[in-house]
Symmetry: C2
Subunit: 388 residues, 2 copies
């Protein structure tokens, strides 16, 4: 096991009716910016619950945060933050709204000319407004970490930044907020969380048993309850609760401690989304089986462990076991209604050159934390996604 | 799954050589009280590493914290804290030293007459000095929670208190500090951590899959690596690292979220320790099989899940499966060199009345969080520990 530093001070308020507890955790006498997205929270009752919880608080609304949150849409909020002397940001929605709030929290305290420097130049986050969140879409795990991904549409860039200073002071996870989610968003959430776990697990043995078994626990829960949440027209409370808590644990950094993480699937997937507009999770479901196939010999040991402990696959023929493992994994995504090949989306071999060019233009030479995916490997990985 | 609030801001510095990082996490210009135990840290090099890390810090030593830390031995430190204007307590040792430091941290800020009120009268901890820890004995999990157990020998009481204010600001976990531990301390540590998990798991189904599977992960790791650490004369680094991290996760509160916890084994075990001087883990290894046996029908579902997932026991006859599960669990403790019956320690039926009297004198009527162990049940539980 490698050395590590673990620090996660996010307070989780989990369960039915916990939105009402927000007020107890807000700093007193401080104006709050209430940030949300396209308005689904006004249809499912979450908006009303938040407003009720804020009844004794001075607050201002900033709606309209977009999926894959956009720099240009967020920046006007900085004027409001300054004018109203905002001291706390409350993000209510899915990962995009929360990521947007993290950017605003750091941008409001940034002393340079343009807060985009935090992403493009990796400028240090020296201070940030405190934030809290109410999660309505289990998927990204951003509600319990210090990471954020922001897009700047004018230059076609999608970049990440991270700091413990933008970790939420609290996150409310009420499984009842997920009752009205459309099926495709649930499928995306399950796949997103599942692949988050695999990015931190499916590389090389790290002799880190707690992290391995916790990762496998989450994978098992996501296969069981994920499928149930998706296939059942009205999944029960506990199924939704288990899905929600598993998705949060998938990226609260605990399973990545002391192990070799990957993230090459995300790096390639981001380019597919930028080029073809795929949903984030869909891009991952396309790329991951390719990464597994192309690296099946190098990452043999961990692939076999994954196949045996998650899908129950054992064989004296390790090649056969790995092929079966990849097939089961791909089939899981397909059962959730997500196609896993570029060819199924009408995309041909021309995509490969475009993705490679995009990666090269961002200065990528080696992808992922394991150091075993080069730009040259991307062609082989994506080639496996073209077969009918 | 029940509603829950999770909050654990303890920073973990894990791995080889991490004691040297302490200075980075100490508040500047603040005198430190360096608390330790009987002096084993002077033999295994930990003392020297801590002193080296404190070379630019004003610090004072307070050695001699006893196993099952003792109020009477701790209280004189309060004068030193006041005199030297101590602003941070650094605890270096096992769970006793850390629990002792937590008591001092709260006692130094207590405004009533006698800080024992924090335990005997459940007086609220309104403030506490910040503490940090260097763990040298994986067992209790106190390095990543806000709990502490203190004994007052003059009145033969052993009581607990808890507050998020005494959670360590940081805890250093360097598996190399465990190289020189005596076998019986390792065995105690494995059993202690194993039973911590069971106290949070072996009650009633809570439909909390993350918590259940994380608990089962820790139990599996403790059976495998625990046995290996104990039986191998020189266990490798990763084995010691996995044991250490599993023991911490066993009681950092994550697996108890939203579930029905027990702790009746601990409550009864504490009285056995107070009466007969058992090591903490030994008292638990005696009591737990009795609790499992006496409650085997009520807690049938969870006992069967435990037996199947940890020991691989399945049977159409649930009584037989549970009997086998209890036998395997008891055998595990015995393989670690710990006897599991009162009779094996020369203690007879007279113990039962004494334990019941002690519990009654502390006002206990129902033991444990599941509400299914009354004072009357204690007699039946301990009776199973008298058979030869």
């Amino acid at each position: 096991m490698k050395n590590f530093e673990f620090y996660n001070p996010v307070r989780i308020l989990f369960g039915k009716g916990t939105i009402a507890k927000i007020s107890k955790h807000l700093p007193e006498g401080v104006p709050v910016l209430f940030v949300y997205g396209g308005g689904s929270i006004k249809k499912n009752g979450v908006y009303d619950q938040v407003v009720a919880a804020l009844q004794s608080t001075e607050y201002y609304e900033y709606p309209g945060v977009m999926p894959n949150p956009v720099y240009e849409q967020l920046m006007p909020a900085l004027d409001l933050i300054k004018e109203k002397k905002i001291g706390f940001i409350l993000a209510v929605g899915g990962g995009s709204v929360i990521d947007g709030a993290k950017f605003l929290a750091a941008a409001a305290c940034y002393e340079g000319d343009d807060p985009w420097d935090l992403l493009s130049k990796h400028a240090e986050v020296k201070a940030a407004l405190p934030i809290g969140t109410v999660l309505t879409l289990p998927a990204t795990g951003t509600e319990m970490n210090g990471n954020s991904v922001i897009s700047r549409v004018s230059v076609n860039h999608k970049l990440a930044f991270g700091s413990s200073l933008v970790m939420p002071k609290f996150s409310v996870l009420d499984p009842d907020t997920t009752c009205t989610l459309p099926k495709n968003q649930i499928a995306n959430g399950v796949i997103d969380a599942f692949i988050h776990v695999l990015e931190q697990y499916l590389t090389y043995p790290s002799k880190a048993e707690v992290q391995d078994r916790f990762a496998e626990s989450l994978l098992l829960i996501l296969t069981h309850t994920g499928s149930k949440v998706f296939s059942d027209p009205e999944p029960d409370y506990d199924t939704r609760a288990n899905f929600m808590w598993a998705a949060t644990n998938a990226l609260n950094t605990s399973i990545s401690m002391g192990v070799t993480s990957d993230w090459s699937t995300h790096t390639i997937g981001h380019e597919l989304t930028a080029l073809y507009g795929f949903d984030h999770a869909v891009s991952l479901a396309i790329v991951l089986p390719g990464v597994m196939t192309h690296l099946s010999e190098k990452r043999k040991d961990k692939l076999l462990q994954f196949g045996e402990r998650i899908w129950g696959i054992t064989s004296f023929d390790h090649k056969a076991a790995i092929a079966e493992t990849i097939k089961y994994t791909e089939q899981f995504f397909r059962c959730l209604g997500v196609k896993t090949k570029l060819s199924e989306y009408g995309i041909g071999s021309e995509a490969i050159g475009k993705v490679v060019a995009q990666l090269s233009s961002h200065g990528a030479t080696v992808l992922g934390g394991a150091g075993d995916v080069t730009i040259d490997d991307v062609e082989a990985i994506l080639s496996t996604r073209l077969v009918p």
